[in-house]
């Protein structure tokens, strides 16, 4: 097989003062024509730096300290910038994570695609225009002339990513480097883009270096898989082998953490009295109906997952239920009391019964306050003294698996997973009956995600919490939910017990979502934990 890119023993040093010496540490790998090599790793594994190095464009502050880079037989290790400019976009092209941001907001996208042709090809203006339309059509964009004349903000995320792909394909490069190209996209769009990339590989025989953190995506698309951790390559091999028979303990741990779409664990009986009844809840912004009347019942001690793509109204539902915004109509009944109608002190008193765990572990904790104050605040509000509040906070820290010393630190000194635990502790501090988790694990690495999901599950068992779990990830929903509600355009289109809904979806949209889930046919093997 023809090797397009060959990386040998590449090391890239981080600037002094970073938490480790090397971003990439002695990595050796090859990409062959017509294959997709997926580089997987959690955040900070050095996979994106590796991609930049392959483009000869290291960020300022980084420098290569060793190793060689060979591209199509040519040693490009020390190629000057001018020469790299001839290669970039021409023989190696890149697809980016945030397609919208990657496009210049002030130039119509057609012009941006044409620029690649202008830089590298010898087509005249008319030739370029024709080629742009052909490229846009090749990425299955509807109405290429209209798209070409559009500005990025006038297109959807998926369309933008197709434009970026068209741009990458313009010179028919030998190597494509895709850096998390579908992470920012909805699941159905992601499926289409992944399909497109696979199609390109089949039709044109590009070599593709595909950076991702999502094993579902890997399972969907990879020919070979390379696993990175702390800048090192821990395992590389054919997809089937790495996904189903991983050798390295780290890889095994990672794969073990991936939730399975086809649930194996049986959950206990679901009969319980309702803890929260949502009746005809609606929310409109001006003329936009963000939430059409929604009715839903949450049973005590059970978990309902609300699943949907962005804009489906699932977050609006959560915020309206918890009174972060007012509703336009409907009732939220907690123990027969309409939470949606309360105000003033009564509202402040009732608030403790419903608490929320937020999505972004970086944004949901006030960076200026100590963890002890954040977690202990609920106790203070409940009328305890400072000392009592501190004791309570310490208790909570233990409950979520953190040390009591953590109380004196600020959120900035914790990792994402730890912060999410603090967020959970804060929610629990109010001794709520109902917890709403809004995408609470989607920003976490898969190994951490697993721990947090286990924690929530565990707490639910121990404290008898009723959980409303908002997520876009069907795997996560499958893992944690007793019931699943599927939302689309402000409506619940399907509601049912989790296994039944996943096994036999009744609504077309649910089916489409399930079909789009990357790697849906792959069940991660359950391996004994060795790491």
């Amino acid at each position: 097989m023809e090797q397009i890119l060959s990386i040998e023993n590449l090391s890239i040093a981080l600037p002094r003062g970073a938490d480790r010496g090397f971003a990439v540490d002695g990595v050796t790998l090859q990409v062959a024509r017509g294959e997709i090599l997926c580089v997987v790793g959690e955040s900070g594994s050095g996979k994106s730096v590796l991609a930049s190095a392959a483009m000869g464009a290291l960020a300022p502050g980084l420098r290569r300290t060793g190793g060689r880079l060979t591209f199509q037989g040519q040693d490009v290790t020390d190629l000057p910038e001018k020469a790299w400019q001839k290669i970039r976009g021409n023989r190696i092209a890149m697809i980016f994570q945030e397609p919208m941001a990657a496009l210049n907001p002030a130039i119509p996208v057609g012009g941006q695609v044409a620029e690649v042709l202008e830089l590298h090809g010898d087509l005249d203006r008319a030739g370029r225009a024709a080629r742009v339309l052909a490229l846009l059509a090749a990425t299955h964009l509807p109405d290429p002339p209209r798209i070409a004349a559009s500005f990025p903000h006038q297109l959807s995320g998926g369309q933008c990513q197709r434009v970026v792909i068209a741009m990458a394909l313009a010179m028919n490069p030998a190597l494509l480097i895709a850096d998390e190209p579908t992470t920012a996209l909805d699941v159905t769009t992601q499926a289409q883009v992944l399909r497109l990339i696979g199609e390109l590989r089949d039709n044109f025989g590009h070599g593709i270096l595909f950076i991702t953190h999502d094993f579902g995506v890997v399972a969907e698309i990879a020919d070979r898989v390379a696993v990175m951790r702390h800048g090192r390559l821990v395992e590389i091999g054919p997809a089937d082998q790495v996904l189903n028979r991983p050798q390295d303990p780290y890889t095994r741990m990672l794969i073990d953490a991936v939730p399975d779409l086809h649930r194996q664990v049986q959950r206990p009986s679901r009969q319980a009295e309702p803890a929260l009844r949502i009746e005809g809840l609606a929310k409109t912004y001006g003329t936009l109906q963000a939430l059409k009347p929604v009715s839903l019942t949450l049973r005590r001690g059970r978990t309902v997952a609300i699943v949907g793509e962005s804009g489906s109204g699932k977050s609006t539902l959560a915020k309206t239920v918890i009174r972060l915004q007012s509703c336009s109509a409907g009732r939220v009944l907690v123990d027969g009391q309409d939470f949606a109608a309360l105000s003033g002190r009564a509202l402040a008193r009732a608030r403790r019964r419903i608490q929320m765990i937020f999505q972004d572990p970086f944004g949901s904790l006030n960076p200026r306050r100590r963890v002890g104050d954040i977690v202990g605040r609920a106790a203070v509000l409940a009328g305890m003294t400072r000392a009592e509040a501190r004791a309570r906070a310490a208790e909570l820290m233990e409950l979520v698996g953190l040390k009591r010393e953590a109380l004196d630190r600020r959120p900035g000194q914790f990792s994402g997973g730890q912060r999410q635990r603090i967020g959970i502790a804060r929610a629990l501090a109010m001794s709520p009956e109902i917890v709403i988790a809004d995408e609470s694990v989607s920003a976490l690495d898969v190994s951490v995600q697993k721990q947090v999901l286990a924690l929530i599950d565990d707490l639910q068992q121990r404290l008898g919490l009723t959980v409303m779990f908002i997520t876009h990830d069907l795997r996560v929903a499958a893992q944690i939910a007793d019931y699943i509600a599927v939302m689309r355009q402000g409506e619940v289109v399907e509601f049912g017990e989790a296994e039944a809904l996943l096994a036999a979806p009744r609504h077309d949209y649910t089916r489409a979502l399930l079909d789009a889930a990357p790697g849906r046919h792959w069940s991660p093997p359950r391996l004994a934990r060795e790491a």
């Binding site: 608030r351 006030n366 200026r368």
Partner: protein, 282 residues
């Protein structure tokens, strides 16, 4: 994290901090540092480094009334720090309060406060100063009032925008779901997190306020004499500057160096803030 620790992370911040620090020291210890009494007449119009008839040396010379320019500059630092500081502070109190309220509550509160701010901002600033001071008279306190009136709307806008942004953060949502009172959310959750950009703005605004006081002096509306203030010194020496440049050059250097220091400090703080995690602290 210590102040020095933060500043060490950026060259400009360190230099700026040093310059500002020197002037702060001058302001604090003026009576100890100044070689002479800043208000006392010795011998008029001695050139820099010159001797008075009775043998005293004046490193930066003396002014028209025979006062030591170096001592006046050192004491002038105090005037600048006190009055520009007070004016900036009071503008901040008003701007912060209004900005927090408008950004937090939005709705009609925001509409009313924003309209007031827009109204004041649509007023040519210098005219605003003049009208205020002409109608209530020129004095240090009135300069504070005038500067407050003129700068508060700009601060209001910054604070309001920051508040609107922070208001949408999850930690504020968390506080709301905990049933925290509004004022506590504004003061404990929002305000400390807005301080980064505001510190930068304070640095720049302090400098501009110092200059504004000087400009008002030029228009005959400055601090009452004999308070040594740099703008006033420049203005006093202006007519004679061509014959006696030292009257104007040194106060100019003083005011420019302070401005430069504050600007570098602001740039540096911005750099540090942008440098990523950890920058949010201290």
């Amino acid at each position: 994290m210590t102040v020095l620790g933060v500043l060490r992370r950026s060259g400009p911040a360190l230099i700026g901090g040093a310059v500002v620090g020197v002037w702060l020291a001058c302001a604090l210890f003026a009576p100890l540092l100044a070689p002479y009494d800043p208000l006392k007449s010795y011998s008029p119009l001695i050139s820099p480094g010159g001797l008075s008839p009775d043998g005293m040396r004046f490193w930066l010379g003396t002014d028209l009334l025979g006062r030591d320019i170096l001592s006046r500059l050192i004491h002038g630092a105090r005037t600048v720090v006190v009055w520009a500081g007070l004016a900036t502070l009071s503008a901040y109190v008003v701007g912060l309060a209004a900005g927090l309220l408008a950004g937090f509550y939005r709705g009609w509160v925001d509409t009313v406060l924003s309209f007031v701010a827009n109204t004041v901002l649509s007023f040519p600033v210098l005219v605003l100063y003049i009208v205020i001071i002409v109608s209530i008279g020129a004095s240090a306190a009135n300069i504070v009032i005038a500067v407050t009136f003129a700068s508060a709307p700009a601060i209001f806008r910054i604070v309001r925008a920051l508040t609107i942004d922070l208001r949408s953060r999850d930690f504020v949502a968390a506080a709301i779901t905990q049933g925290e009172s509004d004022w506590r959310i504004m003061l404990v959750e929002i305000l400390p997190n807005a301080s980064g950009p505001l510190v930068v703005d304070v640095c720049l605004r302090l400098g501009y306020t110092a200059i504004t006081i000087g400009v008002l002096g030029f228009l005959g509306l400055g601090l009452p004499p004999p308070t040594p203030d740099w703008g006033g010194m420049i203005n006093d020496g202006r007519a004679m500057a061509i014959a006696f440049p030292h009257l104007v050059v040194f106060p100019c250097i003083a005011i420019s160096s302070l401005m430069l220091g504050l600007s570098l400090l602001a740039d540096g703080l911005r750099e540090i803030a942008n440098a990523g995690p950890g920058g949010g602290e201290g």
